[in-house]
Symmetry: none
Subunit: 132 residues, 4 copies
């Protein structure tokens, strides 16, 4: 079970990286049941990226993987056409990462949005690394 | 415009009071346009109160008052029956408080849920007091 | 069929009365099919009243009456309990008024919100009077 | 903060261009928080384009850009697949333009729909030019 202390460390690590890069982002932390644990919108992050940070984290935790891994199942030519329309709409692109306990149990996910996609991914990876 | 530093002070003040009382709560901070700025769910807070913390803060900021003040308009015998069905559903009971700049401009709102209603109100008041 | 020129006269008449009273309001004009024709939010009107102006006008036109007349059907003791939950949520209190052509055909409705309920009603009546 | 006077100038400029072109359109003006400020549907504009005018303006302001610029992030081959499903559904095609204060702060957006896409864009540009 993810704790609020973990969630704060995750957000702090993500924001530290975002400040190094110089891009304001939203960071969402969800628990294993896809319920919101913590959220932070850095000053200057665009409003449209709030929902994207939520969506990436939700996409990741619902399938216990990363948000972009879900795209492999629904992209053109893949077998699960329109999978992205399920669950109220997924966000199957980089920036959502599931978090796991040492025993491999999923404990939640982090989602980042506000920068270019590679920036969001880099920030999400820095955030996720702080979950341990 | 509310800043993330303000939002963190608001949440910290609310959580300090919640810990004194001994009740885990969710705390939402919204900006003046009712968009999420920061959120924190203390360990042990029930899932159903996530949406209530959001709803109380939204109810407060949409009407630039407290969440319970909205009830005066929609309670039995008051003139705006079913007002609580508007805006996607309001939460017109204590725990949501609008935040104002020194010049009287609304800058956002805080919403608290997780305890008994008087506890939520006390925590929201402690949180709001830290906005200045 | 309501025209944009009529809708502008309706809004202008409502706003003139609102300025006399000294209360900023939202004014919605819908057509006979409950689709938006025109809308105006005066500077200073609270955000939560946007949806209420919409809801009052919609409540009125859907039943070809006034918004408060719908309350007679759903108030405690009346036969249509919870009618206000229908149609995505009604706003059965004063401030919505259906508009009729000289031959009695409904052509739309106006909805006003932002002040106290009696103020909204007075402004809506002034607005509706300009529809002719 | 966008004023109702600005919003009316924006709509008037858009409608003047629409009349020159000879195409009836809907014009939406939103504030910086994506809340409705003013709306006008010219006589003859199709009903389905009401929501499109809203959606284009919302898409623009949520990302502080134009509605079509958002498509660069979600079109086939771009990194944010299905981004258009976020925020309750985006409208990432021409006709939505963010509006900025002289200091670069976003103050809202205008959205136009009802004609062919190039017509909507031309009308939206004429409307946006009147915001200054």
């Amino acid at each position: 079970m993810i704790t609020i202390d973990q969630a704060r460390r995750i957000i702090a690590a993500g924001e530290a990286r975002a400040q190094e890069i110089g891009v304001p982002v939203n960071i969402t932390v969800l628990d294993a049941g896809a319920h919101l644990k913590a959220f932070s919108r850095m000053d200057g992050a665009v409003l449209g990226s709030i929902d994207l940070a939520m969506g990436k984290a939700r996409t990741a935790v619902l399938f216990q993987t990363t948000s972009e891994a879900v795209w492999d199942y629904c992209k053109p030519g893949a077998p699960a056409h329109a999978l992205e329309l399920s669950n109220g709409g997924l966000a199957p692109f980089p920036g959502g990462i599931s978090l796991f306990a040492p025993d491999g149990t999923v404990i939640g996910a982090v989602g980042v949005s506000g920068g270019a996609v590679p920036q969001d991914l880099e920030i999400a990876q820095a955030a996720a690394a702080a979950a341990a």
